[in-house]
């Protein structure tokens, strides 16, 4: 385990240096988009942390419509650890949604430059930007990464 980590570190460092160099070469830029995690990974935290409480205190209550959240928030018997993780997971889900919603604006200039002939709508511009990744700005690529689109 330790040796595996050690062997990988230099490669990561090289990537990081290369990425920083690439960003530095572009001069002053806006803040890079923060990384977010996928919906599956986020809700799995809830299932792990709150699964027992859900089976015990929220029997027959479904995930959708905010009902599981409502039950976990309101039931005084629900464990503190679960309540803390619930707030965290709600934040993670919202962060992923926000990251996906933000791509259009962050990549607006890239879209105009590299996807001029693409018909907007139905993910067409996003697919064009994915294909144009080598030319697209670092900021736009970071936004696409943060949205989980790769």
């Amino acid at each position: 385990m330790t040796t595996k980590l050690d062997t990988r570190r230099p490669r990561r460092a090289i990537f990081a240096v290369a990425a920083v160099a690439a960003i530095a070469a572009l001069g002053p830029v806006q803040p890079a988009a923060a990384q977010t995690i996928g919906y599956a990974q986020a809700i799995d935290i809830l299932a792990d942390s709150c699964g027992a409480d859900i089976l015990k205190h929220c029997k027959g209550i479904n995930l959708g419509g905010g009902r599981i959240e409502g039950c976990l928030e309101q039931n005084p018997k629900v464990s503190q650890a679960c309540k803390v993780d619930l707030v965290r997971v709600q934040g993670l889900l919202a962060a992923r949604a926000a990251a996906q919603a933000a791509v259009g604006q962050i990549c607006n200039r890239d879209a105009q430059q590299f996807c001029k002939l693409t018909k907007p709508g139905k993910g067409n511009i996003l697919n064009c930007l994915l294909k144009a990744a080598p030319s697209v700005s670092a900021n736009c690529n970071a936004a696409i990464d943060a949205a989980g689109y790769r």
């Binding site: 809700i43 959708g64 697919n127 989980g148």
Partner: protein, 191 residues
Amino acid sequence: MSSRILTALVAVALLSIPAGAQTKLDRNEIINSLSGLPASGHGVTAALLRQQALDNIAQNPGDNATTALPLAAQLAKLRQFNVEIVFDFDSATIRPESYETIGLMADALHHPYLLQYRFLVIGHTDAKGDRKYNLELSQKRADSIREALTTTFRVDPARLDAVGLGEEQLRDPADPYAQVNRRVQLINIGD
């Protein structure tokens, strides 16, 4: 923003990429299975499938379904992915161990490769129990999944219809009680 903070952000982003490697189901596998524009005029709609399932019970009564739905051949041609979602016994309540699977479906549906398509979520039971009852239970279960996808996971409701087909469309008609029949299909019906 100073370049030192940027350095830190970039390093964090690079280090946190490998994740979900251990999950049994993979988002990209779902995306690949569902990608592609279906042939136009396939005729598969939620309303028509529901009607054909009801008609199948009325016109071909009996303990178990023995005839395929008229749309079965068209349905089989569409891009699709099968998942297993675990529910409470005799209920449409999704068990917490299946939350992640529904999240994966959502992660796939949000991907640009699939944004142009509409989908059916189709619930199936095995042949145990009454056919009409199974039809209703599978509809409620498909509704539960659609609701989670469109609320918790923010998939556009206009892109998803839920259908329950009960035991009218078994995956393994030779073994009507087999586990493999209890499944949820995600089907690309085009734009």
